[in-house]
Symmetry: C2
Subunit: 236 residues, 2 copies
DNA sequence: TGCCGTGATCTGTGATCACAGTTAGAGTTG
DNA sequence: CAACTCTAACTGTGATCACAGATCACGGCA
């Protein structure tokens, strides 16, 4: 191996397959709630929009189906799963258990870099949601950024991956609702809980971090359930 | 809808796609440790063995890659991921947190049917591992049956699905090792912890159930780590 | 007017082909 | 005899074609 030293600097360019890019695109649509529960998704139509053949879309969709972020109906149609209130409650319970655990771990294992990204993410989201005319899609994105800044601080790649899969399921329900009803954002519950979580993690208080995440998740879930938006899930 | 009553008895025949069957087959190979870490897997070869074209295999493999139960190397080869000791420790910690939580939930929410399947699964595994010449593949299968009988008793489909994904990652490491070193099975640690878990769940004691699962998982993990079988993971 | 067959058009699934990149081994050269 | 080169056989990825089944609207029968 006799190479010019300059070549040691080049990093292998990331050859992302089209399938991966299609997956990232669709996953983003789901997590941010731009694909509503019950909405159908045609492979060929999606391939058309993305400007590729249906092969990469097939791979992406089959992965999302494996994650249960999409489902194929008995009639061979791919759609965003409809969620009953019971299923949503189960999902919420699991999210509280796992994301709460991750927040507690974060409080114990965070390093200086974690604190920087958590603090700045919390500040960015508060600024956006207290603005006169909040940009909802941006607020949704910043909410995600804050939460994952926390979870990353647990330093457990496997845990983060599991939570990402949970958000894939919860995103269509929660963020679609947030888009339709921005009043909860204005009410500022989430902002308050986020501040609690930030303080707890800075202080290294695992129990408080867990409690803050639990309050944030169950607050949003109660809001959704109280609106009864899931009832119509049965009709489809 | 005026149908002959006899037609009310027919249940919709389950049209499993070839891709699903291929996935189930490969997942079973992984979970039972018959595919060793580092082992390569050719799409065409697998398709040949399964007697189908590569398309169903592609779908199955892409799902397993999404689960991180398989990985594709930079050189475009699919293989069972090698796991460093640090990764294995992370996986073990997450398994203890989540499977322990599931066991605690099981102790609180189990119904009569759950108790029946848990007790019989525990009995079956004890019988097999105390036999004069234990059938290792069968013991591995019975171990899985017992654990999932417990987790199912939590009545949380989402939780069970997450644990299944964790087993997909842990299977190749743990069960491959068990096949190579049956002495741990003979030692009877697992059997003892299983009995603890069974008693705790029957008694509705969540804390004890959690402790039993934790002991079972960390016992097996310590055994693997002590053997240093993961060190060579770096060489590949 | 109400119902049922029917065909065009959509769906996902599977097979096959094409391609670029990698690997391994045979053959050659020093 | 060792090392290098080149080729042939592989790898996964993507596109295209073929097909069975589902949907829906149109038209004819009762």
């Amino acid at each position: 191996m006799n190479l010019p030293v300059a070549l040691n600097l080049v990093e292998p360019l990331d050859r992302q397959t089209l399938g991966e890019r299609a997956y990232a695109k669709l996953a983003d649509l789901l997590i941010s709630g731009r694909l509503a529960p019950g909405e159908k998704l045609s492979l060929r139509a999606a391939a058309d929009v993305l400007g590729v053949s249906i092969m990469p879309v097939r791979e992406a969709v089959s992965r999302l189906i494996a994650d249960k972020a999409l489902e194929v109906t008995p009639n061979r149609a791919v759609r965003v799963p409809l969620m009953s209130a019971a299923q949503f409650r189960d999902l919420t319970k699991v999210r509280i258990a796992i994301e709460g655990h991750a927040a507690a771990q974060a409080a114990e294992h965070r390093d200086k870099g974690d604190l920087v990204s958590i603090v700045s993410a919390e500040k960015a989201m508060r600024a956006e949601s207290e603005a006169l005319t909040p940009d909802l899609p941006r607020a949704v994105e910043l909410n995600k950024t804050f939460h994952f800044a926390v979870y990353e601080a647990a330093h457990s790649p496997i845990l983060v991956e599991i939570i990402r899969a949970l958000w894939l399921k919860a995103g269509p329900v929660i963020n679609l609702d947030l888009r339709a009803n921005p009043e909860r954002l204005a009410k500022g519950d989430a902002i308050r809980f986020h501040a609690d979580v930030r303080k707890a993690i800075v202080a290294g208080n695992a129990a408080a971090a867990l409690a803050g995440i639990e309050a944030d998740i169950s607050g949003a879930a109660d809001f959704i359930l109280s609106r009864g938006g899931l009832a119509r899930a049965f009709s489809g």
